[in-house]
């Protein structure tokens, strides 16, 4: 399905080849294919619409360039717009000026939060920080044990005063962890929270309470790269619930096209900061908008198409 898709796009672009100027009909034909491509890559419908209208607007208004033919121009616009929505240059983590830097993780069930907690801890430790993992998922069976294993593997400390499995108050654990970190001089606190649904009002309130208790420097929304149209609803709910400051895309080691990246960026305007791409602690990278743009369109390298066009 994916191959024929890029073939289709390439075919559309080929039809545009050699024309001196882009007609509205040319642009319509092209954007129709791009719309399908985006939907098949799981970009959510509202994001697709907004994207297409931006591309159309720019394509229509574009000056006829001397260096590029019209087809190349459309591809270039698509690529530029994708990269610009996905965040342009990657943003770095914000560190606190005084006291420990606090990073809170939030997201749907099974998104990859606890695994990310371990990865972040290891990554920070490798940069000579002294991170502390905080076990605030007291819900999922053995989430505390799981985080304990991550801490051990990463060689970092853990604050886990409650056993979990339904026992203990996550807000209190979160609050106490800050005092603990200060007294023991940990400089980064990573708060793992339970997975929750956007529509679960009680659990979203709990997340908001945890946020209020730790006053994080970063709240990272962890989202599974395989998520479909629900990305928009969920991202919106977490934005309202915990006002996240950045996004982490997980399970990018699969073959999902990852349209969620565009959906989330579109509805929240928050930048995608990291890519989680495996189950091991080192499977973790900065997010690259340009690579993601190519991946979403499923064309290997979008820019190489410009050369072909």
């Amino acid at each position: 399905m994916f191959d024929t898709l890029s073939d289709r796009l390439a075919a559309t672009f080929k039809n545009l080849r050699g024309k001196g100027r882009l007609s509205e009909a040319d642009i319509d034909a092209t954007t129709r294919e791009i719309r399908i491509a985006l939907l098949e890559a799981d970009v959510a419908l509202p994001a697709v619409r907004a994207f297409i209208s931006r591309v159309k607007e720019r394509a229509l208004g574009a000056e006829v360039s001397a260096a590029l033919n019209p087809a190349q121009q459309v591809i270039k616009i698509v690529n530029e717009e994708l990269i610009s929505i996905l965040g342009g240059e990657t943003r770095r983590l914000r560190f606190a000026k005084n006291g420990p830097t606090v990073i809170m993780l939030a997201g749907l069930q099974g998104a990859g939060k606890t695994t990310l907690a371990g990865k972040l801890a290891k990554w920070l430790k490798d940069q000579k920080h002294t991170p502390l993992l905080v076990a605030c998922d007291l819900q999922r069976p053995n989430a505390v044990t799981q985080l304990g294993v991550m801490a051990e593997r990463a060689g970092v400390a853990i604050f886990a005063p409650e056993p979990g499995n339904g026992v203990g108050d996550p807000v209190k654990v979160a609050k106490d962890s800050i005092e603990f970190a200060k007294s023991k001089l940990y400089d980064v606190v990573i708060v793992d929270t339970a997975g929750r649904l956007g529509i679960d009002a009680e659990m979203m309130q709990q997340a908001a309470d945890i946020r209020a208790a730790v006053e994080p420097d970063e709240v990272l929304f962890v989202v599974d790269a395989m998520i479909g149209q629900d990305a928009v609803t969920t991202a919106q709910a977490f934005l309202e619930g915990v006002d996240f400051t950045g996004v982490v895309l997980s399970k990018l080691d699969g073959d999902a096209r990852g349209g969620a990246a565009l959906s989330v960026a579109h509805v929240t305007g928050r930048q995608i900061m990291f890519a989680s791409n495996g189950e091991k602690l080192d499977d973790f990278d900065a997010f690259h908008p340009d690579r993601m743009a190519s991946r979403i369109l499923g064309m290997g390298d979008v820019l190489s198409l410009i050369e072909q066009a």
Partner: protein, 296 residues
């Protein structure tokens, strides 16, 4: 007066047809797309509907929705056999428990589903053994064991990082020795693209089959999954020949429309749905209820 009447009627027709043509059709397309049904199946559905609308002379958006519901229910096929084979093979000597293998990509709800399913079976008076064949993920066996304790099923586990196939083998062996009715083998989450891990899964199944055929291979799909769900299902079906799908996390806002393609392309029915994190949040899949929720 007569001509006025005709004109009036024509206008009315035109107006109602307009509504059906423009907004309503677009709405229907959007509804299907945002439910993760996928571009191609959506286009096919809309085409089929257009034909039926022409034939039937359907006018009102409400009627159209009714037709759409019919089409969707037919696609999901209420006549498919969705029973779950969990009964002991009492006729064999020694009697052998039914063996279920639970598979899927990472974090979809395999372990939770295994726990919930054990709960249903135990409540039905069966003796259940859980096999913790996820020896890889941190605390995975502990998680399954906690579920086992919660619902009254013993968990067979092996050393962390050990061979999952031998844990699965042992679980069935102990199930036979204990006279269990059902053995549920929970496996590690793995992306379908990782050939090494998929080979490992194939081996788990083959090794378990030394005791006799596996009764069910359940593929767990997360309702939030988009178009990738189809690829996942295809690859898992190739490797372990899945017999049923469990669609989890339907308690959220995601509609799980991808299972329509999955069912159709693989001919494997959705058998169960997950509706939460609690022990009782598992239910049989009902095509009509699923479609109603999708159209909601």
């Amino acid at each position: 007066a007569r001509s006025q009447n005709t004109l009036g009627k024509g206008l009315l027709n035109l107006l109602s047809r307009d509504r059906l043509d423009e907004d309503t059709w677009e709405e229907i397309e959007e509804l299907l797309l945002t439910a993760d049904v996928g571009v191609q199946p959506t286009q096919e559905l809309v085409e089929a509907l257009r034909t039926r609308v022409k034939v039937l002379g359907t006018r009102s958006p409400d009627e159209l929705r009714g037709l759409l519901r019919e089409e969707l229910v037919a696609l999901i096929d209420p006549t498919l056999d969705r029973t779950l084979n969990t009964a002991k093979h009492a006729d064999e000597d020694p009697a052998r428990p039914a063996v279920l293998l639970v598979v899927g990509v990472n974090g979809v709800g395999k372990t939770t589903t295994s726990g919930k399913l054990a709960r249903v079976l135990v409540a039905d008076g069966r003796k259940v053994v859980l096999g913790a064949a996820d020896t890889f993920r941190a605390a995975a066996a502990d998680q399954l064991q906690t579920w086992g304790e919660r619902v009254g099923a013993r968990t067979v586990r092996g050393p962390e990082g050990g061979d999952p196939a031998s844990v699965a083998f042992d679980a069935v062996k102990e199930g036979i020795a204990e006279g269990a009715d059902t053995v549920l083998v929970d496996t590690a989450g793995r992306l379908h693209t990782k050939t090494g891990l998929m080979d490992e899964l194939g081996k788990v199944k083959r090794v378990v089959e030394k005791h006799g055929p596996v009764d069910e291979v359940l593929l767990v799909l997360d309702a939030t999954t988009g178009q990738n769900g189809l690829v996942q299902a295809k690859v898992f079906a190739e490797v372990v020949d899945i017999t049923g799908i469990v669609l989890t996390k339907l308690d959220g806002t995601a509609k799980g429309g991808i299972v329509i393609s999955v069912q159709r392309q693989l001919g494997v029915p959705v058998k169960l749905i997950g509706l939460g994190e609690g022990a009782d949040d598992l239910a049989p899949f009902e095509p009509e209820a699923f479609v109603d929720a999708l159209l909601d």
